[in-house]
């Protein structure tokens, strides 16, 4: 599964990425050989790292896989790594859904109301031009050093991605679906939930999926700026005292967190968009 999110810039991306990812995952082509090659590459890299550490490069610079593994185990067993993980997880678990839902809701409203969109669109675009992590210190000032300032940064980072993707979906969607449904007497919330949201759901899910790593970035940046616990705090503190193995431990836990959240989102997406994946064609005359 390859997702290239190389820039923080929240530009709405086309929903095709989601489908491409799914199609790639479903490809049965030479499954075993690919898995084997993958293991050889990763194993080789780890081995090289292990050998290099202490021989060619100072361990305090790059640590080593064995040291990282033992730090990871020790961190969870004796240290407070679990507590740090829990804190960061909470920040994301609150900020991410809030940001995603508000972004989706606003994107939807803009799509429904030309009036609203005309008024606020330039404002939103201007706000989007602000490098959002630069606002993090402000959140500390406003919301304190604890949980809520980080929730604020996570919210900010996820909000725009979800907003832009949903709004793009609203503009790209085929109006004829709304016309047809309205003609059949469907209106109000039924129109929204039976027609509009399903129609834009590929875009909405693209927004959700692309914003997951940014939610984690938000939490970490918030913790870097000022905090007393959390994985960002743990990483910064460990780096400060040259406990490089612990820095890598923090990074690995974050990576696993992103992967788990993304997998959950992927499962939900696959269920919700199963109509899209059914591409097996039946050839029957007429």
């Amino acid at each position: 599964m390859s997702k290239d999110i190389s820039q923080e810039n929240s530009r709405a991306s086309s929903p095709s990425r989601g489908t491409v990812v799914q199609a790639g995952g479903a490809l049965p082509m030479g499954g075993f050989r690919i898995t084997l090659a993958r293991f050889v590459i990763i194993g080789g890299f780890l081995l090289l790292w292990e050998i290099a550490s202490g021989r060619w490069i100072e361990p305090f610079l790059i640590s080593s896989p064995s040291r990282i593994l033992s730090s990871l185990i020790a961190g969870f067993r004796e240290g407070d790594l679990f507590q740090h993980t829990w804190v960061t997880f909470q920040e994301i678990a609150i900020g991410f859904p809030l940001g995603a839902i508000s972004g989706i809701a606003l994107g939807y409203c803009f799509g429904r109301s030309r009036f609203l969109a005309e008024i606020f669109e330039p404002i939103i675009i201007a706000l989007n031009g602000i490098p959002r992590t630069a606002v993090a210190p402000l959140f500390i000032v406003w919301l304190g050093i604890g949980l809520w300032s980080k929730v604020g940064v996570v919210f900010l980072l996820t909000f725009f991605l979800n907003f832009f993707n949903t709004y793009t979906g609203m503009r790209q969607m085929d109006r004829e679906y709304i016309d047809l449904a309205s003609l059949m007497g469907v209106k109000g919330w039924k129109l929204s939930f039976k027609v509009i949201f399903p129609a834009i759901s590929p875009y909405v899910f693209t927004g959700i999926r692309t914003s997951i790593p940014f939610a984690v970035i938000g939490a970490i940046v918030g913790e870097f700026v000022a905090s007393t616990e959390g994985l960002g705090f743990f990483i910064r503190m460990s780096a400060g005292i040259f406990k490089t193995a612990d820095v890598f431990v923090g990074i690995i836990v974050l990576m696993i967190m992103v992967i788990i959240i993304d997998k959950i989102a992927e499962m939900i997406e696959k269920r919700a968009l199963r109509w899209q994946n059914q591409t097996e064609h039946i050839q029957i005359q007429a």
């Binding site: 003609l183 399903p198 109509w275």
Partner: protein, 262 residues
């Protein structure tokens, strides 16, 4: 209300404002009246406002002048009592065939049993039995077209507007579907206004063919097709009355097409 027209168009004109060409007149002084159970086709060169006429009757936009009555009432805003079959199938891709066909029933008052019976009946009519749980992406062009038509028929609106529904299909599929449409229509006798650019199709299906001129769209003539029903679409050329109606239609139409040396 028997015998009273289902669709009445009274001196309707439609102007569009475009950024490049200024104001263009899409329809001019259109009047027509369609009685219950009638099958009327509209032919005309592309861009003559055929689709615009349907859109006005559906209430997607108001006429610039004149008025449209549907079952005796003036159309203001969306006409939710009319069925509409768009050019492409436009099935809701996130719903199964069954859910698509039943879509229009939800907003009307149907009991659960009635709803199921109705959906079943129309799925069977369209020969889609066995495909109820399929998504549109899994259907062939002909099958989605059928489902799309059934979606408009299933809630039994008194009038159905069809905008070149068979346009994008291959010739064979097209004939099969024309045949099926006529069979269903003969059972249900819903009033149909059917836009097409195919002269044979226009004659083969219709009781009356409306010929429209190039922009501004006016009604140039109306041809009564006296061919007996039920008709055999596959051998329509051999049926009594076809040549006559087609000949008259072609005579009117050739002037519209500007046929010349290149």
């Amino acid at each position: 209300m028997d015998g009273k027209p289902v669709i009445q168009v009274e001196d309707v004109s439609k102007l569009f404002r475009t950024p490049t060409e200024g104001t263009i007149s899409a329809l001019q002084g259109i009047s027509l009246s369609i009685i219950p159970g009638e099958f009327v086709t509209v032919v005309g060169p592309s861009g003559c406002g055929k689709s615009t006429l349907l859109k006005l009757i559906a209430g997607f936009s108001p006429p610039s002048s004149g008025r449209i009555l549907y079952q005796g009432e003036e159309v203001r805003g969306l006409n939710t009592k009319v069925g509409y079959v768009p050019q492409e199938s436009k099935l809701f891709p996130w719903l199964t065939v069954e859910e698509n066909v039943g879509f229009g029933l939800d907003a009307k008052r149907y009991s659960r049993q009635d709803r199921e019976r109705q959906v079943r009946q129309f799925i069977n009519l369209a020969g889609l039995a066995g495909f109820e749980k399929y998504y549109p992406a899994q259907l062939s062009g002909g099958m989605s077209k059928r489902a799309s038509i059934m979606r408009a028929l299933a809630y039994e609106p008194p009038g159905i507007l069809m905008d070149e529904p068979f346009g994008p299909l291959d010739a064979q599929t097209r004939m099969v579907l024309q045949d099926e449409l006529l069979k269903i229509w003969e059972q249900k006798r819903q009033t149909i206004l059917f836009v097409t650019h195919d002269l044979v199709e226009a004659v083969a299906l219709a009781d009356r063919v409306l010929v429209m001129t190039h922009r501004p769209g006016k009604i140039k003539d109306i041809i009564n097709v006296t061919m007996a029903r039920p008709r055999n679409i596959f051998e329509i050329h051999r049926q009594d009355g076809f040549d006559d109606a087609y000949g008259r239609l072609w005579n009117i139409f050739r002037h519209e097409l500007n046929i010349g040396p290149d």
